[in-house]
């Protein structure tokens, strides 16, 4: 039985509180994660530690009230660990950091489960045990589990390069303390030293293996830390365990209840309720009994000389004399000063709280849709009015209506905009984990995270960006040894930045790694039978890595390099309203991938074209140019269907009238117009009868309103009220290639 069911009488329906709690918990976990990732491990900021402690503490409190026991117990142990950290009783180790991050993940999953987003309850047991193990293991030993290792390197096959040896020793000295021993750095010789570090043996070995093959590394079992340090370490930790394990065990409560007056507020002996307070872990500690309280109130006296209550705990330290209602100036003054200083902060916080409200996404989406309809209706009216040459009063009214409608639309769209930090926040964690896994040192630098974009893009942009960052760590950034050898700092850097350029968001993933290897790409292209001029410029060569299945990774790792790489990234970006991926790379200096996507997916800059009596809409971003077709421009090339020569390129010709089987479009051969478009599949010339104009269109999903159709990505409603299809150019261009092949 949980407290939520036992307490449902007083609390009533808990669903509202649950909803608030879920939001809060997500925010708290996100805050915990971001603070953990920015913590300086050597000297964590105490305010940071306090902030995460409070976050864990909040989650624990509410989850307990709501009966989410798994969340309560995980956050309870997490809180214990954080409490020791913030009090400086424990050193922040890599292990503790990892466990805390995983505890955050567990809370996230438990919340998802309670929300109904996960079918099965995740097992919180393992992480809880590990955390508890950590807390208990070192609770007696205190901070800095520095261990001493005796290291023997040898027998050496050959002398170690002196500079490398120095580098390694100074690296170890950075991590702890090094006591040099006999160093016989010669073939067949041995190098000995002692080292004292807080990291584990694995950390030590990984450093040593940079200069010596693994089989020549001998690390003796950790010895005890020197006595001087041990004395500091064994300082007892304040016995303060946050109230024991379970505060709200109903059985426990019942027991306590028996010891209490049966009816709340009943006049019983003063000693009775106070007896509840026995034990430092008591869930309830009444310092002043209600009876004393009432008696005092009647007297209305100042209690300076108040005698001790008879029910006081015998175990109490007499030095902690409770000045029950006393006021001590010395106690108050510093707090008042402190309060004054914080006043400003609070004002800002209160303002921020009042200035924002939470609204369901569905409501915003509805608003976007309705405004879209309004804009279209306005356009219809305006067109009607032009046709009928109506009253000028109407026309001024209509101009105003149009302006208001567009302003309204802009305002509504801005509600859907979120800062891109919502996407960027996951990368510090990813970089940390991947660089650990690949044995690389990587620093992530993020900028422009306040840039806003359509929230609908969050999910769609996250995967491609994750892929790019992975690529940078796996294939771009070299190992510390390689980097040092190349004269670069041992730690690599990845820059993740976002900015707005016109109607687009440009996201850049840049690394200072080894860059793309032109030679290997050309070799790989040859293996795959892709023809390319060996003297082609770099930009052209780099384009090859966007080919499906193209991977030059020398080893296939479990993270990237499976050959489903950049082509998938590019495709995923292109479907975002004609997003683009660019790439620059310099061998030895690094790679920059630039992703550009429209600000919003709900509105698109478009070009509308006429084919017979039908109107089609093309994403303007994909249109390169348009040209009138002269007699003889279009030629049939054996095996390649019809092509149009544009300067020195032969582009496949797509007759939209054929694609959509419109009855009367076939005429558009002479005097027609070719619109040159570029998409994932390459360039193509679309034959149309007329260009109708450029405009913003409100994108309507066909999936939700009708069904998916090949060659069509979505639809829109034109000014005259007719539905027009927005073309899926990637598909159509591919179709052009295939169709041509099939005909010949």
């Amino acid at each position: 039985m949980s407290s939520s069911s036992s307490g449902s009488g007083a609390l009533g329906d808990t669903s509202d509180f649950r909803a608030i709690f879920f939001e809060e918990a997500d925010e708290h976990v996100a805050a915990i994660e971001s603070v953990l990732l920015r913590l300086n491990q050597a000297a964590p900021d105490s305010e940071d530690l306090n902030a995460i402690f409070r976050a864990a503490h909040s989650i624990k409190g509410t989850s307990g009230m709501l009966g989410f026991t798994e969340i309560t117990s995980v956050t309870h142990v997490l809180e214990n660990l954080l409490d020791e950290l913030r009090k400086g009783e424990r050193v922040l180790t890599e292990e503790a950091l990892d466990l805390m991050l995983r505890a955050g993940d567990m809370v996230k999953m438990q919340v998802a489960f309670r929300r109904g987003a996960l079918e099965q309850a995740p097992d919180a047991g393992p992480i809880e045990r590990e955390l508890r193990g950590l807390v208990e293991r070192e609770a007696g030993a205190g901070p800095a589990p520095a261990r001493r290792y005796a290291v023997r390197l040898g027998p050496l096959a050959a002398p170690i390069d002196a500079a490398e040896l120095d580098l390694m020793l100074s690296g170890l000295a950075d991590m702890g303390k090094v006591q040099p021993g006999p160093m016989n750095n010669a073939a067949g010789g041995e190098i000995q030293f002692e080292v004292e570090l807080s990291g584990g043996e694995a950390d030590l070995r990984s450093v040593l293996s940079l200069v010596v093959p693994a089989d020549a590394i001998h690390v003796d079992k950790p010895g005890a830390a020197p006595p001087a340090q041990a004395a500091v370490l064994s300082k007892p930790i304040v016995a303060d365990d946050h109230g024991g394990e379970i505060f709200f065990d109903p059985a426990d409560w019942k027991k306590r209840q028996k010891a209490k007056p049966a009816v709340p507020g009943a006049q019983t002996a003063a000693a009775e309720p106070v007896a509840l307070a026995a034990g430092s872990n008591a869930a309830l500690d009444i310092f002043v009994t209600p009876e004393e309280f009432r008696a005092r109130r009647k007297r209305g006296a100042t209690p300076e000389a108040k005698p001790r209550s008879p029910g006081r705990r015998a175990t109490d330290d007499p030095s902690v004399e409770p000045e029950l209602f006393g006021r001590r100036a010395s106690d108050i003054v510093p707090s008042v000063e402190r309060r004054g200083r914080r006043d400003g902060e609070r004002g800002v916080q209160a303002l921020a709280e009042a200035a924002s409200i939470r609204v369901g996404v569905d409501k915003v989406d509805l608003l976007v849709n309705l405004v879209g309809e309004l804009v279209i209706t306005e356009a219809m009216l305006a067109q009607q009015q032009r046709l009928e040459e109506g009253d000028s009063r109407y026309s001024t009214g209509l101009v105003d209506l149009g302006r208001h409608a567009r302003n309204l639309q802009e305002a509504v769209m801005s509600i859907r905009m979120v800062p891109i930090s919502t996407v960027f926040t996951r990368f510090p964690r990813l970089v940390r984990e991947l660089s650990q896994r690949f044995g690389k040192e990587v620093e992530l630098k993020v900028s422009g995270e306040t840039t806003e974009f359509d929230r609908g893009l969050i999910e769609k942009i996250t995967d491609p960006l994750t892929h790019l960052v992975r690529n940078s760590i796996d294939h771009g950034i070299e190992s510390p040894a390689e980097r040092l050898a190349a004269g670069k700092p041992g730690s690599g850097t990845i820059w993740l930045s976002a900015s707005q350029k016109g109607g687009s968001i440009v996201i850049e993933v840049r690394d200072d790694g080894k860059g793309l290897n032109r030679k290997r790409i050309l070799e790989r292209a040859a293996e795959r039978g892709i023809r390319i001029d060996p003297n082609a410029d770099d930009e052209e060569v780099w384009q090859l890595i966007f080919e499906a299945g193209f991977s030059t990774a020398e080893t296939i790792t479990d993270v990237s390099g499976r050959g489903v790489g950049m082509d998938v990234v590019r495709r995923n970006i292109q479907v975002l309203g004609g997003g683009k991926v660019g790439l620059h790379s310099r061998e030895g200096a690094g790679t920059t991938v630039t992703v550009s996507v429209p600000l919003t997916l709900a509105i698109m800059e478009a070009m509308s074209v006429a084919v017979g009596t039908e109107t089609y809409v093309l994403p303007l971003a994909a249109v390169i140019e348009s040209r009138r077709i002269q007699h003889g421009d279009i030629a049939g090339i054996a095996g390649q269907g019809h092509t149009l020569r544009v300067r020195d390129e032969f582009l496949p010709v797509v007759r939209l009238s054929e694609v959509f089987r419109t009855a009367d479009g076939a005429a558009a051969e002479q005097g027609g117009i070719a619109v040159i478009v570029e998409s994932e599949g390459g360039k193509a010339a679309l034959l149309v009868d007329d260009l109708l104009g450029q405009q913003q269109v409100v994108v309507k999903s066909l999936d939700t309103n009708f069904r998916r159709m090949p060659g069509v990505s979505s639809a829109t409603i034109m000014g005259d009220g007719r539905v027009a299809l927005i073309l899926d150019l990637a598909h159509i261009v591919q179709f052009a290639g295939r169709g041509a092949a099939a005909r010949h």
Partner: protein, 121 residues
Amino acid sequence: MGKSILVVDDTRSMRKMVVAVLQGAGYTVEEAGDGDEAFEKAKKKVFDLVVTDHNMPGTDGVTLVRLLRGIPEYDDVAIIVLSTETGADLKAKGREAGATGWMAKPSDPEKMLAIVRQFID
């Protein structure tokens, strides 16, 4: 008119739950999201009882108790700290500051009500 209670907690969900329990029992409840806000409210109006969280950014619960005890009108007002922290040291500090009682959070709402009733009615 019902007795008035001030509920102080920086965690919105927890605060709302405590408020709901107390309102359900017929008390007039006001909320504060942190110790400073609580202190400001308390200066303007004397509540019949205060329930406060301890761990809050800025002014924490124990400090709030001390501040409130600095206001003469709060001499006779019960102040109950509701906290997930129940370490003896901290409780001693709370007691020293002038708290009337200390309850472990999470707590059974019925029990919380019972305690509140003992001090307010």
